[in-house]
């Protein structure tokens, strides 16, 4: 993991990868809602004017125009900010895209608190939950720029609805350019035996930092990146937990309905263990810088360390 010149936002991968795909002859189009510059789909429009459709400030129309384009044989990506690109068009995603099982990829950007100063109205913290709850929908949360590129390619390779969650802020580099994402697979970024930290998105970097801090205290944490939130890599997650005996999840999302909830649903069914969920504790975000907000809402590495301490204390009390 390196936070250097190679740090890029996941959204930076969006337009770029679409252009590459179009170059390769894949019939991709993007539909955006007056945010083609922010989401970077404008890059596709610059290279292929006919492949970008800007519907104006009309997210409901955005989703269903994409649905229509997919019916004409294209692979249609949608844009906007995550808060509007999912929540403002939920019924369209549900009743048209998912119910008809269309080749539409819901891929908004600016998810989570990392939109910073825009504040609570713009900080989408329920989108994983919204999308994960939809039948026929698959969900990917890439943790860095290269993972985002891989996620977009995986979405294209997979017929049917896919949600790809991208963010606005630069995030440290975790993967190389050769990274390929797979459905139902978690990536073990650091092996350990004392606790499993399962993270997604920008929290993967925090989890790695937390593991370093924990190592100093003699706690050997296993860090796994879970980009495939749905379908969840049940086998990989359970294998890690079988080894460590307890788990902390970390996500830039509400603790309700996201990765933490998915892992809780999984362990409760197959391997009940103590779980601590690091995430937004059922509150709206607020204006501030990303580092400030990570601390304020207890989403930073120290917060993950504290969660690990708590979960291990519980675990030992029980044993």
């Amino acid at each position: 993991m390196t936070m250097d010149d190679t740090s890029k936002a996941t959204r930076a991968a969006y337009g770029e990868t679409l252009v590459e795909l179009a170059d390769e002859g894949v019939d991709v189009v993007a539909v955006d809602a007056d945010l083609a510059g922010s989401t970077t789909t404008k890059k596709l429009g610059a290279a292929y004017p006919m492949r970008l459709v800007d519907v104006g400030i009309a997210e409901q129309n955005m989703i269903d125009v994409a649905a229509g384009l997919s019916l004409s044989g294209k692979i249609a990506f949608t844009g906007s900010f995550a808060v509007f690109g999912t929540g403002r068009a939920y019924d369209q995603i549900r009743n048209t895209v998912c119910y008809s099982k269309l080749d539409v990829k819901i891929a908004p950007t600016h998810a989570g608190i990392s939109v910073g100063p825009d504040g609570g109205s713009h900080q989408m913290l329920e989108d994983i939950s919204l999308m994960r709850g939809l039948p026929n929908m698959r969900v990917l949360v890439p943790s860095d720029y290269h993972a985002a590129k891989a996620a977009i390619r995986l979405a294209v390779a997979t017929p049917g609805p896919v949600y790809v969650r991208m963010g606005r802020a630069s995030v440290p580099r975790i993967y190389g350019a050769d990274y390929r994402m797979e459905w139902e697979r978690a990536i073990v970024l650091r092996e350990g035996v004392d606790v499993t930290i399962a993270a997604c998105g920008i929290e993967v970097a925090q989890a790695l930092m937390a593991a370093d801090a924990l190592a100093e205290r003699g706690i050997d944490a296993e860090v796994i990146d879970v980009p495939s939130i749905k379908p969840l890599p049940a086998a990989d997650i359970l294998a890690s937990i079988r080894k460590t005996g307890c788990v902390v999840t970390a996500e830039e999302h509400s603790v309700i309905g996201g990765l933490g909830a998915a892992v809780a649903e999984l362990t409760a069914e197959h391997l009940p263990v103590f779980l601590e969920r690091v995430g937004m504790r059922d509150s709206f975000g607020t204006s501030g810088s990303l580092p400030e907000l990570l601390t304020c809402f207890e989403l930073d590495a120290p917060a993950i360390v504290r969660a690990v301490t708590r979960v291990r204390a519980r675990c030992h009390r029980t044993l």
Partner: protein, 335 residues
Amino acid sequence: MQPYGSVEGARVEALAQMEVNVEKDVAEKVGTPEGTDGSERVAAIEMADAPLKAMSMRRDIIAMLALAGSGHPGGSLSATDIVAELYFGGILTHDHDRPTDPARDRFILSKGHAAPVLYAALAEDGYFPLSELSTLRKLHSRLQGHPDSKVLPGVEVSTGSLGQGLSIAAGLALGLMSSGGDREKGMVPTVFALLGDGEIEEGQVWEAVMFSAHQHLGNLVAIIDNNDLQIDGRCSELLGLTGIAERFRAFNWHVLEVDGHDSVALNGVLSQAKAYTKGPVAVIARTVKGKGVSFMEDQVEWHGKAPSADQAAVAFGELGGMPGWYSECIEGGRA
């Protein structure tokens, strides 16, 4: 159960009468649509098919709903003549043997609750056996309460949540247009979307309206089933929904108005709409909800209620008899 035997006679009679009327209509009105070459007579005969099919479809609709015990007769019957004209009046280029032919015109039933009228058209055309109509709304049926494109050939996209069909149609029209083909030469398929008048209260419809006009979607036709009824009352009273044509015009659409139960007029207007390539066309079709069944006509309570067997029998009397598949089904049920 009612004795249905006598109805059969009435049906034959009504059909005969209707054929006479249709011949008259055609004789009177042929030539109204533009372009009168040698194929005129063929077109006229094709046109004449539609009213006959519409009559069958109305019978199918009543039969389906009576068997299902729930569903939406009012909006299915108001749209019957329109849908019949599209499928049997030579408007839609389509082939039930190749339901996914890329060159086909597309029909999107945005007002998905009128599923029975779509199912009737598809079955009458041969997309699936008429007898399957008896499965409407039943467990494991392909005829879902609202159209499900995953299971039934001929359904372009699932609908049921109002206000979405025009956006889908616009995206599809754009996709077909950009996939090549010369619109001027009629090489690009046309996308027709049928909307309820209550449905256009959904804001999303106006998003699609703005978008389609701006994109000059010359292969898009929106048909508004203007029966002036929704669920809680008259559209004109509940939300002051009048002057629909002016609203579309203010949003830069080409607008045509038509009597939604006049086959010949409908055929002319729909042909014109299809031929218009400069931008999207709105066809405002004045209709009567529940059209064809006296006790349902213009009655708000028949929006979403199935007729009982007795009520269906009365309706069949007015519609020239019951469908063959229905009587077989009833008899099968008795046996």
